[in-house]
């Protein structure tokens, strides 16, 4: 029972080169090991997820792939190019977009929505005429067109998130890397964000590497890696990973709430988690 891919590969084309290939990556901060011998392959046109709590190494991994962080061991290839040197990394940056962690942190608070987008477009050398129509389309899609002149610092969390996405995509990169774009945002905005993201990626056949601390977003990805403290615990399609562990989730409500703690203790001694 094969799961249908979210985005079908171009008709009749050979399987494309993976956009990202990482082998045996290690990264240490002074004494602390952030990434420990990690492997990763992101296929073309794929939405790849990195799921894990804080300290799992997701941010470090993403920054390394984006070419903004040095690494201590292993090989990293982006678009088939080994980015071991700073110069090599520079060559591929034009085809990537990177959004760091923190809602709207990489945007400019005093500038308006439009000024932010214009800045990113100019930074990425997007020609002026292309910019006009692209901007219009993206703003309409994210429903930010009504807030064109509002300073970024006055936007709500969900709007900052969408603006960040627009700015990351404005130069139509082949690969975007988003570090926890949905953290700290309510479910409605999250849902909204995902539908916009998938629509955009599908349309332009962009690959995406997205990290999240919300486990329940796993089903959003075509492929994902579960990470913990610098290592990959499991990788593959969500269904594959789910299948690794069989069992049943039992939910129950006690008649007497106050006995909850004792019940919890009993359960803990028999099973893991409660």
């Amino acid at each position: 029972m094969g799961q249908p891919p979210l985005v079908s590969a171009g008709s009749g084309s050979a399987p494309a080169e993976p956009v990202v290939r990482v082998q045996g990556l290690t990264k240490c901060y002074r004494k602390q090991v952030a990434v420990d011998g990690l492997d990763l392959v992101v296929g073309a046109g794929e939405i790849y997820g990195l799921i894990g709590p804080d300290g799992a190494g997701k941010s470090s991994l993403m920054k390394i792939i984006a070419g903004v962080l040095t690494y201590d061991g292993g090989t990293v290839e982006v678009f088939g190019q080994n980015i071991s040197s700073e110069a090599a990394a520079e060559r591929v940056k034009g085809r990537m977009g990177f959004m760091p962690q923190g809602l709207g942190q990489n945007l400019y608070g005093e500038l308006s929505v439009e000024e932010n987008i214009d800045f990113f477009a100019q930074l990425r050398e997007v020609p002026a005429d292309t910019l006009v129509e692209r901007k219009q389309k993206l703003l309409a899609m994210t429903r930010l067109d009504k807030f064109l002149h509002r300073p970024m610092k006055l936007l709500s969390g969900g709007m900052k998130q969408k603006l960040g996405l627009v700015c990351t995509l404005i130069h139509q990169p082949k690969l975007i890397i988003l570090d926890e774009p949905t953290t700290g945002v309510d479910p409605v905005s999250r849902r909204d964000f995902w539908s916009i993201l998938t629509a955009l990626l599908r349309e332009q056949n962009i690959s995406a590497l997205v990290s999240t601390a919300y486990m329940d977003e796993a089903s959003r990805f075509q492929q994902l890696s579960l990470m913990y403290e610098g290592q990959v615990i499991a990788a593959g399609r969500p269904e594959q990973i789910n299948a690794k562990v069989t069992g049943t989730l039992v939910e129950l409500v006690l008649a007497m709430q106050t006995m909850q703690t004792e019940a919890l203790q009993q359960l803990k001694s028999a099973f893991s988690t409660g």
């Binding site: 953290t183 849902r191 990805f221 290592q231 893991s272």
Partner: protein
């Protein structure tokens, strides 16, 4: 509500296993479902022996402030309003939290949750309305309130360069815990928050999950009657989050502390005894999780999960077929339908002409996320039509 993942067992044996284990307790309701990614994650971690195994000790503290004499209602908010110039951030908000209850305040960023917190904790005055926290009036007795509450915010208020012990001691002094009791209280915090062995570590060097428990412990050092938690588990791993909630549950059930918590993790909202959903400064729903799910089913019908061989195109088609709020979850589509049978036919008919085959269509028990999304979208639709 308690959740247990029974590994390796199918539904029926799992339920009977749990039941027999809890034979001493009276169970109101019990049901089984498929494990979620979080359960898989934790199971995989324990297989690889990666998750720490610190036990959280449950020690009952000696509460000198006789809670029997404290009011049954820990928080009473009555038509609280707060304006910033023309902008009404909080609009006639009323709710009640009983002592010993875990109350969840949900809502989008900017819905007014933090403002409500600030008003109830006495940090910000309201423009209108009344409120009582721990029996004290929030307008006139804000100092008395601050002595009786604990507050933990998302941006931790720990001193990174102090050790765990130093932080707890500092908070003990700030909250004026009497000298004689201080040592006892510190011990209690360390035990309850599972910090044994970590006393000498710098707060800044702790992993997120432990840091949070420390922050929680510091908020509890003076035995508050009411606890205000603002997104306390954001970014913490599932194991850490569960340990955190274990502590909260103990505080509520055993110590009878009232807890008001905000979170974006819907799975945590399930732990709450009661929920209030905020939108644009107003409370649009105020009920138990079970009641909310039930209300959703009454209002919008069953939650159906649809699997097809071309999910993206299918979504478009289904939306056009009249299910405007259908949403994509990975490769499956979720939608609400009042008449599931009719919906099934409708969908089959809509998909067929496009050459899309329907792989499966089955009902799923709604989760709080579905409730949240439905209610908020409903409000947004209403706001647009005005």
């Amino acid at each position: 509500m308690l959740r247990v993942f029974v590994e390796g067992q199918r539904e029926t044996p799992a339920i009977s296993q749990v039941k027999s284990l809890l034979s001493d307790f009276v169970i109101d309701d019990i049901r089984a479902s498929q494990p979620e990614m979080e359960d898989v994650f934790i199971a995989l971690l324990s297989r690889a022996n990666l998750a720490g195994h610190e036990r959280v000790e449950m020690i009952k503290s000696d509460r000198h402030t006789g809670l029997a004499s404290s009011p049954a209602l820990a928080i009473e908010a009555d038509k609280i309003c707060r304006d910033f110039g023309q902008f009404r951030a909080v609009d006639q908000v009323s709710f009640q939290v009983k002592q010993g209850e875990i109350f969840g305040l949900l809502g989008a960023n900017g819905a007014g949750k933090s403002t409500v917190f600030k008003i109830l904790t006495g940090i910000m005055p309201p423009t209108g309305g009344e409120g009582k926290v721990a029996g004290q009036d929030m307008r006139s007795a804000s100092r008395a309130i601050k002595e009786r509450i604990g507050y933990m915010s998302q941006a931790f208020s720990l001193y990174q360069d102090l050790t765990v012990l130093e932080n707890i001691r500092l908070y003990g002094r700030i909250y004026a815990v009497p000298r004689r009791q201080l040592k006892q209280r510190i011990d209690w915090v360390i035990a309850t928050a599972g910090l044994r062995g970590a006393e000498g570590r710098l707060a800044g060097a702790l992993p997120m999950g432990i840091r949070q428990r420390l922050a929680l412990g510091c908020a509890l050092v003076h035995q508050p009657q009411v606890l205000f938690l603002d997104e306390p588990t954001s970014g913490v791993d599932p194991v850490g989050r569960r340990r955190f909630w274990d502590i909260l549950i103990q505080m509520a059930r055993v110590e009878q502390v009232a807890i008001l918590v905000t979170t974006h993790y819907m799975s945590e909202a399930e732990h709450c005894d009661h929920l209030a959903l905020m939108y644009a400064g107003r409370i649009i729903a105020d009920a138990t999780p079970a009641q909310m799910k039930h209300a959703l089913q009454q209002a919008a019908g069953e939650l159906l999960e649809v699997a097809t061989d071309q999910p993206l195109q299918a979504l478009k088609v289904i939306e056009q077929a009249g299910f405007e709020e259908a949403a994509l979850f990975g490769t499956r589509i979720h939608l609400l339908a009042k008449e599931p049978q009719q919906a099934r036919e409708q969908i089959e008919n809509a998909l067929a002409p496009h050459g899309i085959s329907l792989l499966s269509l089955s009902p799923r028990p709604p989760r709080l996320e579905d409730v949240f999304v439905y209610r908020i979208l409903e409000q947004e639709k209403e706001a647009r039509s005005q």
